[in-house]
Symmetry: C2
Subunit: 363 residues, 2 copies
């Protein structure tokens, strides 16, 4: 079987980190019999510059036809003043929405070699391994009405709507419980059921799925504000965190930062299986487009490479191949190679290309 | 002038920490000519048990007539299963809404004596002094519709609505800019203008107020998810954080936890000046009702006492009196007194009463 991959480098450091990925893809083709073809297209600010839209219909067609999508990053200060629906981020949100990528998996892992890079005490974060399961196609990101109107008295009123349906919560809860079975068997479900009725429904549905389908899993409820505290106070008490789109956005960034290794963290966004048995898979680094270092061979390619690792695992079931990549990354860190973002005294500072060379060598 | 104070101890450790406050109030009456009368009433779970409602109309009348309200905490596991509008938290939310307490000030201060209690490295948090200015009567907490409906197909749909009007953003922005003038002159405004139109309006209005009324202040925009990261990465780069109700809930808990001193942190919620020149003021500790240690003389009274300090400052303009209290707290910490939550090796462990004794002595 030959897999169809769509590469969407996007803006900022996106092209550089996807260039690294292409080289690693080549290695998997040559050495591990991983057969694929690639297409490449524009998304985000660069797509707006070229086509006047951050996500064209033609690009969306390619995305729908692909077996997996490898994404870089979108955004940059030059597009800050664009109208809401032209902003680079809308490209990413259209992909999530139109492909139905409802399950966003964001590991927050503290790499042993980097535990001193965290602003938290090493004993608090060493060995940290949290998986945030974030609902990605519902909530306030997509709910209608979402509108900005000018009233008769000259004032403006802005409205965003958070909506959740039973089935949206059921399917993301199942993803979290399934993943918990492969890990510690524990899920913490984060919401604001004391203030939001979406939180009330969230809690109710998560408990129903838990009782009827996953009684073997240990489920706890945690208010989102308390979760933000626990992540700082005792992050290792958390394992799988199941949460909605908006809380997931904030809590996953907080969790990623705890590890001190945000340039290392990958993510996967998965959709529901389609009628023909395929499952949309979308892979991107947690970090953003970092316009300040773009084009200078300074970016850390590891988050993007590990995102390809998640692709091997989740889209293609090639667990052994994914492990090889994890191992190679561990090895180059152990050998002392560091990009600027994770540089430590006494280590060897390298750029994007040299880091990729080292990983290819370690493979 | 004799001030009318309403004491609302609420649930859990609320009664104990307000008991401490009463003793300190007595000291201010005897030694500093601070003239007041107090009334006391129920709120939260205890009010539900007694009256069937977490906030009665009679209590609300007293709250409206008071010059300031000293609040303990609400909530506990025994009320978790109550319907949404009977939950203890609704008592607090009714007070905020009906009194128009739109400006919530939450300092996140790292006490020097406690900097080793933080899970963050001491050099990251020592001297940390952030002030979160959270909008408290708008956004998703109060927007309509807020509803949970069962659809024809048996599914449920939950809806929460985040609404902001120009004037709501203007007035909270002014509070943040005014406070910044008394501090570093810097404000970071946190929103999700890349996803939420309330965030778009938020940014627009904050900039308009900044340009026309506070050009001397240094304003920066920060996305809420990025703010959650910066709080962990480099909290001392932040000073005043201006944000909405929901983001403020999460970011202020995260910030409080960074300091390692959450049992020490006060808050103030202020309303608009009324026609007769009065301004509603509501003072409560950041920590919650801690039902697990309630009634055991274990609670740390300092957050509640410092909330009374904020009351002296913001409701009554008695800055010198507030400083005395700050100083007394610093002194007892320097002398080594610690409640359980902030206990450190070699220090003297005390309960609520003994800590209050020590503070009275230091005063
Ligand atoms: C770029 C932005 C729209 C996006 C989000 O808010 O979801 C980002 O912060 C993320 O978490 O992937
Ligand atoms: C108790 C709860 C309703 C409240 C809130 O969400 O605002 C609390 O978390 C707070 O921050 O004061």
């Amino acid at each position: 079987m030959t897999y169809k991959l769509l590469l969407l480098p996007g803006d900022g450091i996106g092209p550089e980190v996807l260039e690294s990925t292409k080289r690693v893809l080549g290695w998997y083709k040559a050495k591990r019999g991983f057969a694929y073809t690639t297409e490449e297209d524009l998304v985000g600010g660069i797509s707006y510059e070229t086509h006047g839209s951050p996500a064209t219909d033609a690009m969306m067609e390619k995305a729908k036809a692909a077996d997996a999508i490898l994404f870089g990053a979108v955004g940059g200060p030059q597009w800050d003043k664009l109208p809401f629906d032209k902003k680079p981020e809308r490209g990413l949100l259209r992909l999530r929405g139109d492909l139905g990528l409802f399950a966003n998996l964001r590991p927050a892992l503290c790499f042993d070699a980097l535990k001193d890079a965290s602003t938290l005490k090493p004993e608090i974060v060493s060995g940290l391994d949290i998986l945030i399961v974030r609902e990605l196609t519902g909530g306030v990101y997509f709910g209608q009405p979402k509108e900005l109107v000018t009233l008769q008295n000259g004032e403006k009123r802005a409205v965003d709507t958070q909506i959740y349906y039973t089935h949206e919560i059921e399917r993301i809860a199942r993803v979290a419980f399934e993943l918990a079975r492969l890990r510690s068997g524990r899920v913490a479900s984060a919401e604001k059921s004391n203030v939001m009725v979406t939180g009330v429904l969230w809690r109710e549905v998560v408990h129903k799925i838990h009782e009827t389908e996953y009684p073997d899993i240990q489920l706890s409820d945690i208010l989102a504000d308390n979760c933000a505290m626990q992540l700082v106070r005792a992050p290792k008490t958390l394992d799988v965190i199941l949460t909605d789109n908006l809380f997931g956005d904030i809590l996953s960034d907080e969790a990623a930062q705890l590890t001190g290794s945000i340039g290392m963290l990958p993510s996967a966004s998965l959709g529901a299986k389609t009628a023909d048995g395929r499952q949309p898979g979308f892979y991107e680094p947690i970090h953003g487009s970092a316009p300040d270092i773009a084009g200078k061979d300074l970016a850390n390619p590891i988050a993007t490479l590990l995102s390809f690792g998640m692709c091997l695992r989740y889209s293609f079931g090639r667990v052994e191949d994914a492990r090889l990549l994890d191992k190679a990354v561990e090895n180059v860190l152990a050998e002392g190679y560091r990009t600027g973002d994770i540089m430590q005294p006494g280590m060897t500072k390298v750029g994007t290309t040299a880091m990729t060379d080292a990983i290819l060598k370690a493979l």
